[in-house]
Amino acid sequence: MIMNKQKLKVDVNLAVQIGSLKLKNPVMTASGTFGYGEEYADYVDLNKLGAIVVKGLSLKPRLGNPPPRIMETAGGMLNAVGLQNIGVEEFINEKLPYLKNFDVAVIANIYGETYTEYSKVAKKLSSVKGIHALEVNVSCPNVKKGGLSFGSDPKATAEVTRRVKAETNLPVIVKLTPNVTDIAAIAAAVEKAGADAVSLINTLTGMSVDLKTRTPHLKNITGGLSGPAIKPVALRMVWQVVQRVSIPVIGIGGIMTAEDALEFLIVGAKAVQIGTANFINPRATLDVIEGMQNYLIENKINDINEIIGTFQS
């Protein structure tokens, strides 16, 4: 069995704070790439994770887009899953109980096609135990209605934020889309609207063509680009947003290794999410956590917070 390096005794602190949410380490799973947790339980001790962000939840179950839904690209992949999910009710009844068995923060990623849908999903999830925060997806580029239109407009994004905040006492993380001219402006609007944190980036919209048939590789034509290919764009946007807002920023995009994750922390992200890397290496999350520990030990730093935002520009 690989990547099962011997556990080293460490007294370095990896715990970070996202608003009122305390995490044992800054490594979360990215929504849609880790299912509802149990899909990776054979590979990963879920108790070791900073947080599990579950697949995006909508008010009603969603069938999602027709197949084919994914395609490989250079250093990444395209997906057009179309937010297929079991709906918030079934999540609460079927999936949440399993997650409650673990000592790990559970973050529900929510999605709506109208302001009211966002409110309702937020309300439902806030009425149950076992959920530690909400991540609001205003940016899924795969669904023509909703997602994109909200996330690319500062006003709409702010309004979604207000609606969700009005329904919950849980920390609210707004997840931003990179398919915009000025992501920092949107982050600022979201902060003003009361968000407790922002996470970025969601996928960059892309496409690819099957030469044999001259048809798109994805039935949905366009899909979301993720993986190491987008890391430089994600890191740039996180850095821009960190300079603009004072709420915690969660870095996402192409993180494969602890080194990648540390780049995000150094430019100012308080935590990171691991997405596509889970597909390439099911133990990516644990490897990143272990790599962070080793980095701190080698550099004689005893608290991860000491390196956050230490970028020398």
Binding site: M1, I2, M3, G32, T33, F34, G35, E39, Y40, D42, Y43, K55, L63, G64, P66, P67, P68, R69, I70, M71, E72, T73, A74, G75, G76, M77, N79, V81, Q84, G227, P228, M256, T276, N278, F279, I280, N281, P282, R283
Partner: protein, 272 residues
């Protein structure tokens, strides 16, 4: 039934036929006994291009005291398989598995029919082997319909010949066995079989499985089909490998080939 990732060492990787390779991979003994129909996600240790792992069925499996060995029978169709084909003895591959569900074995069925197209023989061979070993069946009761475009694309024959009595080979161009589609060959024989006592297992290109679905439509034959879709995670997390299924209540849903499949009741598969 735990899945995990392993570093496998290539014992051999030979071109047994033009564009068809048989890879023997040595794995740690922790690797679970695979069930027929299960697959692995394979990638070259340390290589990030191709980016995604490739799903390949487990063609055969054996376990010794110290380690176990899986065989993968694969066809070179693109970038990833071409690179796999280039791997030499003792190269390392990352193996994630065993993944997915398996074919169901129904002891009550006296007659087993396999219908395979080209490389579709891979998962069916492991099943045939197991049925034979379990000797819940005698050789006589296993019929194998094997089709391909041309003689060069018929593989794995040697192995199934040991296991099956009645083997029907078809090629579109007639270069081997009967000329025409394997599904047509099966359709010609269909009256020979009684739906109640028969279980059909199939794997092959979409058009073939689809055709078979049409043929069986409305009949009482029970048929388990192993499907293929592009995969990212292989473990049920990404929802990338969806296939459209009509459930018993008649509702359309998207099932995951990697986790809910790869084996589905052919009647439930919805073709666009």
């Amino acid at each position: 039934m735990a899945k995990d990732i392993y570093i496998g060492e290539i014992v051999s990787n030979e071109e047994i036929q033009k564009e068809f390779f048989l890879m023997k991979v040595k794995l740690g003994n922790a690797f679970d006994d695979p069930l027929p129909g299960q697959f692995v996600m394979i990638r070259i240790a340390g290589l990030t291009d191709p980016f995604l792992s490739r799903p390949i069925s487990i063609y055969s499996f054996s376990r010794s005291k110290k380690f176990c060995t899986i065989e993968l029978l694969y066809r070179v169709v693109g970038k990833g398989t071409r690179i796999l084909a280039g791997l030499i003895k003792s190269s390392q591959v990352e193996i994630n598995g065993p993944l997915g569900g398996s074919f169901e074995i129904d002891e009550s069925k006296k007659q087993i029919i396999f219908i395979a197209g080209g490389i579709g023989i891979a998962p069916l061979s492991l099943l045939a082997e197991q049925l034979y070993r379990n000797d819940c069946l005698s050789k006589q009761e296993i019929s194998f319909y094997l089709g391909a475009q041309t003689a060069d694309a018929i593989v794995g024959l040697d192995k199934i010949q040991k296991l099956c009595y009645n083997i029907q080979i078809c090629t579109d161009d007639g270069t081997l066995g009967r000329k025409g589609f394997v599904t047509d060959a099966f359709q010609k024989d269909i009256k020979k079989y009684s739906a109640a006592d028969t279980m059909i297992y199939t794997c092959g290109p979409k058009p073939m499985v689809r055709k078979l679905g049409k043929i069986l439509h409305g009949s009482k034959f029970h048929c388990q089909a192993s499907l293929e879709e592009r995969m990212a995670c292989g473990t049920g997390a990404c929802m990338g490998c969806a296939v459209t299924i009509k459930d018993n209540k008649g509702n359309l849903t998207h099932k995951r080939v990697c986790a809910d499949g790869p084996v589905f009741d052919i009647r439930q598969i919805v073709w666009e």
